[in-house]
Amino acid sequence: MFIINSSVIETKQVHENIFIQKIHSPEIAEIIKPGQFLNIRVSEATFPLLRRPFSICDVEGENIYLMFNILGEGTRILARKNPGELIDILGPLGNGFKLDDDFKSAIIVAGGLGAAPFPFVTRSLKNKKEILTFVGGRTKQDVITYGMENYILSSDDGSIGFNGNVVQSLERNLDKIDIASSKVFGCGPNAMLRVLKDYCINNNLDCEVSTECAMACGFGICQGCPIESTSNTDKYLLVCKDGPVFNVKDVVI
């Protein structure tokens, strides 16, 4: 966990409103793990004031990749950074997905921008585990396959792939999955994660999800990012420090 200025190599628009930013950051690249995140200060000015959290999207040699959409001023400023400009990164933060567990198939479930952490997950598992990926979104525009492998698409409006949400898409393909030797990795809006959690628990599927929460610090000092624990109701867990990846059994989403 440290702060470093790293230089933008390029920012590519890969989809409507979806950007991939490649940054030269050997220090981060060396140690960051899939599912961890970075907290980025997009401007030296007091606007925006707080850092913005982003999942590590991918790592390739000394370079790291972010995937984001433009939501507000923070992401707008980030998208406009020119090659060579430095960005102020604090990280690596949080825990990552547990990829060393004893499973044979990784079932990736990505809703919308929940795709962000999975290119790195895919790269890390490739040639080691089987991968089956479910990518969903509201419409065609929100279905992001960047860096994914062996994927099945779905959209809520049917404009691409299966007509339904990504958990229904998983359900429909359950026959392709050996429950005992599979592990699910999910990321997406909380509403989707809730459904995914219920589905996995009901079907005895081991499942880790990457959660989201408003954050001020990202490293455990502000107590801004509580998430209810299932085992100890006297105390919240912190999304930034105890997460953002949790086993669905451990948290109330």
């Binding site: 004031l49 490293f219 000092i221 502000c222 801004g224 509580p226 105390k235």
Partner: protein
């Protein structure tokens, strides 16, 4: 050795420099020690401790606002007992004055917390939070009532010989009246300011963005208000003031000292750049050298009005 004397005094408490880390923005020191050498700092103030552990408010607890942020953590903390058992051992390793911040819902609870913590010699002073706007019981009520602040001060004063700092609420008309009460009842110093009461709503759901509805506004947005409060106390009451509110860089530190602060606390900035407080110390020294100031403490209340 440094050519400039950066040391400051808060009553009998001597700090090697005026840079303190504010309550609720450093946890119990663990994480921030990865970014910064705590031994270089003037002091660190713990998250507000209550007698029993507090779970705090459900999410959402924070929201960003223009040049500021609202928080309603709800005083989530481990409680006095766990603090002494689990947090003090880590903090003991550092050679930095540790100030314990205490929050409570009753005067008895303030006193009880102080008694329990008083024996721990790692703790060099107490800061009493009478001004947290984010809990339904206590907090704000105390901070906006002169009699209550007076009573808390005198009762806690009786329970400890360590330096006693009262952290004042800015949500009052004349903060200097509260500083006067603190002085009269034997407090050694005041901290000013805690956060301003604020809120924010989602215009589509019409719900508050923060679960607690109201939160405390901190960050650069409040700096002008904080400076005016410090100046008011400085002009009216003879008591050491710890200046707090929106400090983002060494220049802000100087500004707070000029209007009357003996030391300052850095809050929100720790979330954005946890390395900044330590860096400021060198920058303050450079300012002093460039402006031929041999003792930084000369700046306190050096305003020219």
């Amino acid at each position: 050795m440094s050519k400039v004397d950066l040391a400051v005094k808060i009553g009998s408490l001597k700090l090697r420099n005026p840079i303190m880390l504010a309550s609720g923005t450093v946890g119990y020191g663990n994480e921030i020690s990865e970014f910064s050498d705590l031994n270089k700092l003037g002091a660190i103030v713990t998250k507000s401790l209550s007698l029993k552990p507090r779970k705090g408010n459900p999410p959402q607890r924070i929201v960003e606002t223009p040049a500021g942020m609202l928080n309603a953590i709800g005083l989530a903390n481990v409680g006095v007992e766990e603090f002494l058992k689990d947090k003090i051992p880590f903090l003991k390793k550092f050679d930095v004055p540790l100030i314990c911040n205490i929050a409570a819902s009753t005067i008895e609870e303030y006193v009880e917390c102080t008694r329990l913590l008083d024996g721990e010699e790692t703790i060099k002073a107490f800061e009493i939070n009478v001004s947290c706007p984010n809990v339904k019981d206590g907090g704000l009520q105390f901070g906006n009532d002169k009699n209550a602040v007076g009573l808390v001060t005198s009762k806690v004063r009786a329970a400890t010989n360590k330096p006693l700092i009262i952290k004042l609420s800015p949500n009052v008309s004349y903060i200097s009246e509260f500083a006067q009460v603190v002085k009269d009842e034997g407090g050694d110093a005041v901290s000013a300011i805690n956060t301003l009461v604020g809120t924010a709503f989602n215009i589509f759901t019409r719900k508050p963005k923060i679960f607690n509805v109201n939160g405390g506004l901190s960050g650069p947005a409040i700096k002008p208000v904080a400076l005016a409060k410090v100046l008011e106390i400085s002009q009216k009451v003879d008591i050491p003031i710890i200046g707090i509110g929106g400090i983002m860089n060494w220049k802000d530190v100087i500004e707070f000292m000029i209007v009357g602060s003996v030391a300052v606390q850095i809050g929100t900035l720790n979330f954005i750049d946890p390395t900044a407080p330590e860096k400021m110390i060198k920058e303050l020294e450079d300012y002093c050298i460039n402006n031929k100031i041999s003792k930084l403490s000369e700046l306190t209340a050096s305003y020219v009005i």
